[in-house]
């Protein structure tokens, strides 16, 4: 039960991260994306990509990738997303559409009224439906709006067949072949050549950064856990949006060092860890800190989430052929492209490995793919692990779809359930 909090509510219940190069890096990246394409001599091209698109090849071509989803999250964190969503809705986009899409389209329609003046205009756009089907039509709208070329990378879902969860051969070849078409598309529409050597170099850098990121996530198994959800949510930006760039490695080396120090000195992400939970789905960006800090006051921490783990994917980097084969597989096997039994397995595994007391499933109105089947997998996970979970209703950037009080009643009930079990 939730006892009255004796502690001063304004006192910080968490330990602030010292590492900050991820922040500087993200800011300078966005700043450069505004300036560099305007310098004719540099001939810098910009591509907009979806969060699960194979970005390393663009990086190898020297093209600057920008992520509308990442940008929408920043707009959401700055509490400007509802205004942007309304602009898109007034232009005829349904309010049932993903709020990242609405928020971003609002900034496309009205860049001057948007955070950072909107994203730098793209030369090409690349979508990949390994995360959802929405991205195809969203990017198609952008392509029509700007009249620019659009490459769609099609990754059929991985389903649990009697033979296991392996990608069928014809599907693998279908995806693999598209990588060659993709390289050709880049050359045709930007004039940028990509060599095998360059691709290998970028893939190696991406792999190295991902291994560091993986180690950071893994270190959160410690008690007390060194990072809470908001720490991971904000430090994840480079592993998503700056994959394959050298600086990303330095950013994560710095963070890993701090994580190691925290683990060694038993310094937790929050000051008084009592209950450990898992978070499933995208963050509620406009309510990120109030949510997790209020829970930190009560000793509740989240050592693991499915969201930041989604970018923990590596492949072979020994030779070009194997690397490209793995690359095709890697982008097909992302979390949201797998079936629900995979989620049950993964979350149950996390519950065990991270020694968790419960789990929170964010039923995100905006992201249908991430939220579908939640009730079934909530039940299945509890049956498998014996650990209770709760579903909360929300939205990653559209605060109109979020009720603070309803959310707290559910979360507090889960905490009361866990506390009763512990006592």
């Amino acid at each position: 039960m939730i006892e009255k909090i004796d502690r001063d509510p304004t006192e910080r219940a968490y330990n602030k991260l010292k590492s900050n190069s991820y922040k500087k890096y993200t800011i300078s990246y966005y700043r450069n994306s505004k300036i560099l394409p305007k310098i004719p001599l540099l001939n810098k091209k910009v591509a907009w990509v979806t969060s699960g698109a194979p970005v390393e090849i663009l990086v190898a071509a020297g093209i600057m990738p920008l992520y509308p989803e990442n940008y929408a999250a920043i707009v959401g964190g700055s509490k400007q997303s509802v205004d942007a969503c309304i602009i898109a809705e007034n232009d005829g986009y349904s309010n049932e559409l993903c709020s990242y899409a609405r928020c971003h389209l609002g900034t496309v329609i009205n860049p001057s009224g948007s955070l950072m003046g909107g994203l730098s205009k793209p030369d090409i756009i690349v979508s990949c439906n390994n995360i959802c089907g929405t991205v195809l039509k969203w990017f198609q709208s952008i392509s029509e709006y700007y009249d620019i070329p659009h490459f769609h990378f099609d990754t059929p879902p991985i389903v649990d067949t009697k033979l296991g969860k392996t990608q069928e051969n014809h599907v693998f070849h279908y995806v693999r072949d598209q990588l060659d078409d993709y390289i050709e598309f880049i050359k045709t529409h930007t004039g940028k050549r990509v060599t095998e050597k360059k691709i290998m170099k970028v893939l190696r850098l991406a792999n190295k950064a991902t291994l560091l990121w993986g180690e950071i996530l893994d270190s959160c198994k410690a008690t007390p856990t060194p990072l809470n959800c908001p720490d991971r949510f904000i430090t994840m930006a480079p592993i998503v949006a700056q994959r394959g760039m050298k600086k990303t490695i330095t950013v994560y080396e710095e963070l890993l060092e701090e994580v190691h120090q925290r683990v060694d000195s038993k310094t937790g992400a929050i000051k008084n860890e009592k209950i450990r939970l898992l978070w499933d789905n995208i963050a509620i960006w406009f309510y990120l800190y109030p949510f997790f800090n209020k829970l930190a006051q009560r000793g509740v921490v989240f050592p693991v989430d499915t969201y930041t783990h989604a970018w923990n994917m590596t492949g072979s980097v020994d030779n070009y052929e194997d690397a490209m084969n793995d690359y095709a597989k890697m982008y097909s096997h992302v979390y949201l492209n797998q079936d629900l039994s995979y989620r049950v397995e993964l979350i149950s595994k996390f519950i065990k490995e991270y020694e968790l007391d419960g789990f929170v499933l964010h039923s995100n109105k905006a992201c249908k793919r991430y939220s579908m089947g939640m009730l079934s997998y909530k039940k299945a996970i509890t049956e498998k692990t014996g650990v209770p979970g709760v579903i909360i209703d929300g939205d990653m950037v559209d605060s109109r779809n979020f009720s603070e009080e309803q959310t707290w009643t559910r979360i507090e009930s889960l905490i009361e359930m866990i506390e009763a079990r512990k006592s």
């Binding site: 309803q406 009361e416 009763a420």
Partner: protein
């Protein structure tokens, strides 16, 4: 004598139960409309109880507040969610209860409890007000029937109300009236609609007997009957279904006193 207090400030009504600590007997209880000044309402609840029983304020040694405005009860010692409170309150009254269906003003809940009154699982409606007291209230207003008379107007020969959205359902009701439908048949349809929505919620956790229905809407026999038909279990309705959350809060408070 020592007393403890359970205060449940819901979205439509505020409830308080005063309990004698040693005997765990209810000394008195009271219900008020929540109003917009919830802090004031909470104080009035206590004043009413003191007036009714003649006890002194200092005799109340522990207060647990619950409900949506639990944090606005300035004098509470502890805050507990209405789910845990319902679980405890119902377990106290009906030890064999395993499923609690609480249909309150702005939400409905399906709660699974164990033999000790501990919360095992729960599901709540989403932000939509369909299947809640508010839905019933809006419909009663459109039909110009006092809320407490709705059940007596309910006809088994109902016309179905298909919209789940309260606003859409209201216009559906208006158009049914315009089409000349019998008013009592519309009332029957409204009750069916609530029961259908609540049944879907209960299915999320799975129904297990005994089933108890609480909350203001439990006073509407027509909704209870419609639910019985859909659930295939006869639900138990407490004598005072509105105060079981406050009762649970008082029980939790009583349990805490030994630890002070």
């Amino acid at each position: 004598m020592k007393y403890c207090l359970g205060v449940d400030i819901g979205s439509i009504s505020a409830k308080a139960v005063l309990m004698e600590v040693d005997s765990k007997k209810i000394s008195s209880w009271t219900v008020l409309p929540t109003g917009f000044d919830t802090k004031k309402t909470a104080n009035t609840l206590v004043e009413n109880l003191i007036e009714k029983t003649g006890i002194k304020i200092d005799d109340i040694v522990y207060t647990v507040s619950t409900g949506y405005s639990r944090k606005n009860v300035e004098f509470s010692t502890q805050q507990v969610t209405e789910l845990s409170c319902q679980a405890k309150g119902i377990n106290h009254l009906f030890p064999n209860a395993r499923t609690v269906i609480d249909i309150g003003g702005q939400d409905s809940k399906a709660i699974r409890i164990d033999e000790n009154g501990s919360l095992l699982d729960f599901e709540m409606n989403d932000k939509c007000s369909a299947g809640t007291g508010r839905f019933l209230e809006v419909m009663a207003r459109s039909l110009e029937i006092p809320l407490e008379m709705m059940a007596s107007h309910s006809s088994d020969d109902f016309v179905s109300i298909s919209s789940t959205c309260t606003v859409f359902a209201e216009s559906e009701v208006v158009s049914r009236i315009a089409q000349g439908a019998n008013r009592d048949s519309i009332v029957g349809g409204i009750h069916q609609s609530i029961a259908t929505k609540v049944k879907a919620l209960v299915d999320r956790i799975g129904v297990k007997p005994d089933v108890v229905i609480t909350g203001g809407v439990a006073k509407n026999q027509a909704v209870v009957d419609a639910l019985e038909e859909k659930l295939e279990y006869k639900p138990i309705v407490p004598d005072e279904p509105q105060i079981t959350g406050a009762l649970g809060a008082a029980i939790i408070a009583a349990g805490k006193i030994g630890n002070i």
